[in-house]
Structures are given as structure tokens and as C-alpha cells.
Amino acid sequence: MSFELNYELLVGLLVLTTAAWSVAARDSYSATVGFVSYGLLLAIVWMQLQAVDVALTEVAIGSGLTGLLLLGAAARLRATEVRVVTRPSIALRTLAALACAGISVALAATVLTLPQPAPSLAAEALDALPATGLGNPVNGVLMAFRAFDTLLEKVVLVLSLVGVWSLAPDLGWAGRPRLLHPFADDGVLGFLARTLPPLGLLLGLHLMWNGADEPGGAFQGATVLAAMWLLVLMAGLGDAPQVRARWLRVAAVAGPATFLAVGLAGMGIAGAFLAYPESHAKALILLVEVPMMLTIALVLALLVAGPPEPTPDR
């Protein structure tokens, strides 16, 4: 067995161990910390699979933002953690384990018998890429070839924000989202919240702009922006906006609305919904990407911040 495979075996085992830990840990907070490490290790796997764009997304959203969200929830539910959790009986658990092992074995058998040679759309995607003016095939798929998926996913983001906000108590509508750790801090958090945002802003915009040709894109860039905003809010250096603020609502739908408008315009000028005329493809994609980035950054941060809650009079 070569060194390469040993390394991959190690990464795979670490991924499985952290996954098992986040299921088996007694304390939910530890389980969540396990889940965050799991996400980081999984990003290494994505790198090994030559999927840099996915690795960036996994590390930013799958591990980072999801981790923040879960840590906040675990901290809030800590008081409810009972010492002894009564799990189902041994017999039931064995049955569940057998059923799950069966599913894993079936999936593993599928992996081992995947068709040879593997079907691929890589050549087609690469052939059609010059027409979009982009150099990164993954972004070509996201913004042009499968633009419909990307449009719907933006709608899902906005809908889930509507869902989260609908959980606000009646008085909450006049309030602001509750922050995860609402304390003013002049220590490390305050220092980072003062120094990191300019760099984060630059990095976020760089990821988005460079995403046209290199790994990265509007998503990964927007996640960095969202993280910077959350950092400022968590350090108490800024106020979360009131959810009834008009600019907030306009910004939350600006991305999907522009996307939809460009898509509908495509019916007239390029002959199909979400089609771009070849001469202006790059410009139109940028026109969609900029408001989309704003919307994604805003909605991601607001999803982590949670529903608005009544605030005491200031």
C-alpha cells in the first residue's frame, strides 16, 4: 500500500471517527464540536477529490455557519441536557444498527460496481464554457448550464428566512434577531471584530470576482462576508437590523429578483428562460452575481442570527 493511500485511509478514518463521535457523544455541545471538526476534515476529502469549489463551500457553510448555528442552539439548550438519556432498548438499537449497516453495505456495493468507464459531462461542459465567458467550469454549471437550480436555491434561502422569521413571537416583529453571544467584549473577540472585517471584505470580493476563472464564486465569497458581519454583531460593535426595515427586505430578495428578471429577459433576447445572449453572457452573469452575493451574505447571516425577539426599550 502506497504512502498516498495510507494518508487517505487516515483522513477517511478520522472523518468516520468524528462522525461517530457527533452521534455518540453524551453531551450535545461536545457532539457539535465534533461535527465542526468533521466538516473541516470532510473539506480535506473534497480537496483530495479535486473539488476545490466544494471544499470551500463545505468549510464555509457546512462546517462554519452550520457549526455556529448548532453551537448557539446547543449552548441555549444546555440546561435541558439530562444526565441520563434513555435510548431505545438494546434490542431496538441492535435492529436499527443492523438496518443502517445494511443500507451502508448496499451503498458500498453500489460504489464498488459503478459503471466503467464512468459517464461524464466534463467534456460537454468544457466545450460550451467559452460561450459563457467564464473560466471555472463549476461556476459555468452553476450560473449558466444549471442556472435554474441556482435560482431555485436562492428562493429556498429566502423561503427558509421567511420560515425562521415566522417563528418570532408577536412582539418580536418590532425587534431584532437575537444574537448568539450578545456581550460587548474588549478581549479577543472585540479585537478580531475590529481587525478582520476589512481583510474579510477583500477576501470575500476576491473570491467572488476570481470565481469566474478560479475556484471560488459568489457563494463562498458571500459566506465570508456573512461571517464578517456576524463577527461584528457578536462582538457588540453593531446592531442587528430590525426585520421590518425596508432596505433589509429589498436586499433579501434582490438576488433572486434580478436572477428572475434576467432569466425572463432571456426568453426575449436569447430564446429561452435563463438563456444568455452569447455576446453579453459574462456581463449578464456579473449583473446577476453581484446582487446575488449581497442577498446570500445577508440571508446566511440572518438565518444564523435567528428570529427577531422583542427588545427592551432603548
Binding site: 476529502v45 469549489d53 463551500t57 438519556v85 460504489v111 452553476l142 425562521v164
Partner: protein, 112 residues
């Protein structure tokens, strides 16, 4: 065995681990975490299909890779909604576990 196949088996195992947590863990927050494990296992299987489809000088087939990116964002949206529901349930005095033995705050309050 190629590294890609190895990670494919890893993805298959992740789905099993996540499902087991989803079935046997009574705490709702833990069910959300387990559900995310199942999801990322499925994404990993997609990643293996993408890697196997490496062609035309690319490291992998960009179509499944783009689908996974979309999937990760949708999974995050669903998780955010689930966590918000859970916290609201907690605030309104509902139990945050399906464990019958555990005393929920509501049950404690209703005691004489």
C-alpha cells in the same frame, strides 16, 4: 483500491452512521446533527461520481460538483429552519427530546 473508491465507501458508512443517530437518539438537536451527517454522506457519494467522471483535463465532472454546492446551501437552509423550530419549541415550554422518561420543563411546571 483507489483513493476515490475508499472515499466512496467512507460516504456509504457516513450515511449508515447518520441514520443510526437519527433513529436512536431521542434529543432533537442530535437528530438534526445526525441528519446533516446523512446529507454529507450522500454529497460525498456525489463527489466520488464527479471524481470518476474526470475528463477533458478536469479533475472531476463539474456538473455533480455544482449540484453538491447547491445541496450544501439547501442543507444549511433546512438546518437553520429546524434549529429555529427547535428553539421556539424550547421557549414555549415544549420538550426538546422525544425521550418519554425525561422531564420536560412544561411537565415540571404543571406539577402541583
Amino acid at each position: 483500491m483507489s483513493p476515490t473508491t475508499l472515499y466512496g465507501l467512507c460516504g456509504a458508512a457516513l450515511v449508515g452512521i447518520g441514520l443510526y443517530g437519527l433513529l436512536t437518539e431521542p434529543r432533537l438537536l442530535r437528530k438534526i446533527i445526525a441528519f446533516n451527517l446523512v446529507g454529507s454522506g450522500v454529497f460525498l457519494l456525489f463527489g466520488v461520481v464527479a471524481r470518476r467522471g474526470a475528463d477533458a483535463g478536469l479533475g472531476g465532472d463539474p456538473v455533480p460538483q455544482a449540484l453538491v454546492i447547491t445541496g450544501i446551501v439547501v442543507a444549511f437552509s433546512a438546518t437553520a429552519l429546524a434549529v429555529a423550530l427547535l428553539l421556539r419549541l424550547h421557549e414555549t415550554g415544549g420538550g426538546v427530546t422525544l425521550d418519554d422518561e425525561a422531564e420536560s420543563p412544561a411537565a415540571e411546571r404543571s406539577k402541583p
